[in-house]
Symmetry: none
Subunit: 202 residues, 4 copies
């Protein structure tokens, strides 16, 4: 019986957190980080402000949770791509395409969680931010490419970092300027650069 109550309680907690998460995402998307107040989140979640503090100790913790849960699906689907039986190059292309599409969809939030320094400062102590996770994914592919012999023996982590920066930057660019460069073209350009660099080889 206590079991049952326990289970019910946990279920409620989890549903509440989900509701608050969705509300927070909506508010963040609409008002930006500065405009995201506990009041607005509570109202959007149709929950008393005080209740937010039942589920999250404070605002930072709430944001950390949002951050985590927002990236979870991206991480999972990225993992699936990583696990696919592809050679490095097409795998990378698939990953990039996936990212661009995901960001396209969540453009409102991208800034806060990938780019925004204020958020990063806020979440500093947080384990694996989307960023490090993403860089590691890239590193994995690069390492795979080297092992397969398709890639040169570059410094893996530096290269992953560089690639991530390059990609993030064009994402940013796209979002800030509502730029029109279609995804296909973008990917082609990135892949080309990544593969051959700029040098007019031999």
């Amino acid at each position: 019986m206590a079991r049952l109550a326990e289970r019910r309680k946990r279920l409620v907690t989890s549903m509440m957190k989900q509701g608050i998460y969705e509300a927070a995402v909506a508010v963040l998307t609409r008002y930006g980080l500065e405009g995201t107040t506990m009041d607005r989140v509570a109202e959007q979640a149709e929950v008393a402000k005080g209740s937010l503090y039942k589920y999250f100790q404070n605002k930072v913790e709430l944001l950390q949770f949002v951050h985590e849960r927002l990236l979870e699906p991206l991480r999972e689907s990225s993992q699936e791509i990583l696990d696919e039986d592809l050679s490095a190059l097409p795998k990378l292309e698939a990953l990039l395409r996936h990212w661009f599409e995901y960001l396209q969809e969540h453009r409102g939030l991208f800034n806060f969680f990938f780019v925004d320094h204020a958020v990063r400062a806020l979440l500093r102590d947080h384990d694996r931010t989307g960023r490090t996770s993403a860089v590691q994914d890239l590193a994995l592919i690069i390492r795979q490419g080297i092992e397969e012999g398709g890639f040169r023996r570059v410094d893996v982590s530096l290269t992953a970092e560089l690639l991530f920066g390059a990609v993030r930057d064009v994402c940013e660019q796209r979002i800030e300027t509502d730029a029109a460069l279609p995804i296909d073209q973008l990917i082609e350009g990135v892949m080309d650069f990544f593969q051959h660099g700029v040098g007019a080889d031999e």
Copy 2:
């Protein structure tokens, strides 16, 4: 005499602005953008709060000034490098080295003005932000490289953007983690990636 008074006045104004600039830099470095209040800046500058508003109409204008002044010398010296009579590759290397060194020196502020989305939003209407300026510098070099025949005929602006992102990212990385990778090695890695990409020469 009026001349003299005039001159003295301008000198004082400029010194005050400099003092406020330095105070703002200190506060930004220490407390971040969120924590940078006019009160703190005034206190740090050892000036009355009201005086800030004598020299800057409002907070945004003050931040714009800091932004401007911070990047001015970087822009100027970058220009000098661009003007040198070098072929594209060594020119790029010189530019990167210069940037890395400058950022090393001003690490505390770099985040706010290159990375932070809130700041970029704040300064969006500002003419040439550091970013576009930097991207344009890179584009110039790439174009030069193509003309010289050393580079392939890549999409110049996309490539410049990618390169900038890559570089910015490792800077960020360096700053946030106090990473130790020495500048020489970093530059070598970046140049290598930029020139040849990752693909194994076939």
Copy 3:
């Protein structure tokens, strides 16, 4: 049960508003419009400053509320007098008497809401200010008087305006100088002037 909570909540809200209203009235009376700060109102109401903003979006809205609530009863009772089955002259006399007595009671506030230009500017968009409402009441009576044949065919709105001005002025006078002229005598004088003017007719 929800009903009860709802009801209680509304009651509390209404009591808070009333409390804030009274505090605002006290502060306005004591310090004048210029001296009426949200801080003072909060302190007088023995409420946190922030709470004022729970009940009123901003200072203007608070003042509008005070204005409204102050004139509401006057408007209602004026309406009752207008609806009475009296001929124009006694009706006017009754109305004036009512006004004088009401103002006697609320002397401290009268200035801000009838006379003060700054307030009028502040409340300009407000629907029926006390002023236009009053002028319209007078116009109604004058029109009635003309229809009954007791009044000449004067320009109704101009005359209403003139009468209002005349009355307002003596009210002001009474309040500013704590003048002693008893209400009966005042009304007699006003009515006499209004009816016959100054001319030694025929």
Copy 4:
């Protein structure tokens, strides 16, 4: 010699005061009472802010001076009309016409000095405000009318007060609404009301 210096000094003082007066009038007209800061007055007067405090102890004193000087010419010309050899009725008409025209010209200031309670509070201790002076002028004419036999034996000061209120009100009305009623028609209406009231001649 001391004499001469003395005289020169007084002359300068008087010219400075005049300049400040004109600047203050300009600022008041343009920005309203709220927007009239010492900074703006100083700038308009092309005088250092500190200098204002050489000629006027504080802002209130400055405003009192402006008030005084603004009404001086109106008072003087009113006096001339009062002194003319006219019977009461045409004299009153001439006076009203004069007032309307003067106000038309200085409409921007009218509010502050005739209507605005804040100003009146500010200037409360000031001797003869425009208002009392004007009421007294009207009282004089009414008294004259009674003596000439053209007016009934009304309560002089009350009637003067009523008339002033009526007139002031339509002035206000005119200014606030930029109402179009031409002066001639306005005067005719006021004179008619003043002479005969509203009652139908029996």
